[in-house]
Symmetry: C2
Subunit: 111 residues, 2 copies
DNA sequence: CATAGTACTTGGCCATACATAGTACTCTTT
DNA sequence: AAAGAGTACTATGTATGGCCAAGTACTATG
């Protein structure tokens, strides 16, 4: 029970939400996502991102196509499926509610 | 990978933050916390709350004293330790940063 | 051909939230 | 005083997601 640990726990599920949102804005591949997440100070490593993408694809929320690259191996470019779009909307709702609930608790000052 | 699941994941770590905040405002016992969490629409069951309180106590973030009750068994009234207060402040920071990061991602509209 | 860089994969570990069942104490009812 | 209901706390086992670390495969460069 240390801070680092809780930080890890706090981001659970949120990553999924962020990834889906990034993909919803246009075709991207893993490194694009990592760049954007890093820019937003959400540090993610490959070993976290790739399995997540695979899970999302298996759940039919994402699909991808291979695209050749000039500098390295081909890349998987991801897009949202219809199912994925719906899921993203639900997630956005859940997230907003969660923020609201937390706000309710933490905005109260000492009795 | 269904919505319910992700909702469960999203609240991970946040519960800890909320509990610590509730306790920071004055002595409370488990049922008080459950009431407040429920009021904020954060549904928690006993089997989740009690182990969490035990973990927090073992980490020396909380301490409790037994208080007799007129209607039932004695209750554990919890308070924050110094360590717990510090931890709570760190958590608040982490949470704010996380919200900010997520905001950065999700506020971008379609390219 | 060897090396470096990029992209993706896999297996094992850990902590939290949850479901479920169980213990222990007090008060009320009869 | 015995039985039952209600309250407070405990214990066990499961599932999930994020992380570390090692590994594969392809391309470009020297």
């Amino acid at each position: 029970m240390n801070l680092e640990n809780t930080q890890v726990q706090m981001r659970k599920g949120i990553l999924e939400y962020c990834i889906l949102h990034i993909i919803s804005r246009g075709e991207v591949y893993a490194s694009d996502m990592l760049d954007e997440l890093t820019a937003a100070k959400i540090i993610v490593v490959e070993g976290t991102l790739y399995p997540l993408l695979t899970r999302l694809k298996n759940a039919e929320l994402l699909e991808y196509k291979w695209v050749e690259s000039k500098s390295g191996p081909p890349r998987k470019y991801y897009t949202l499926t219809d199912k994925g779009s719906k899921f993203l909307r639900s997630l956005a709702e859940t997230w907003d509610e969660l923020i609201h609930s937390t706000q309710m608790i933490t905005s109260k000052s000492n009795a």
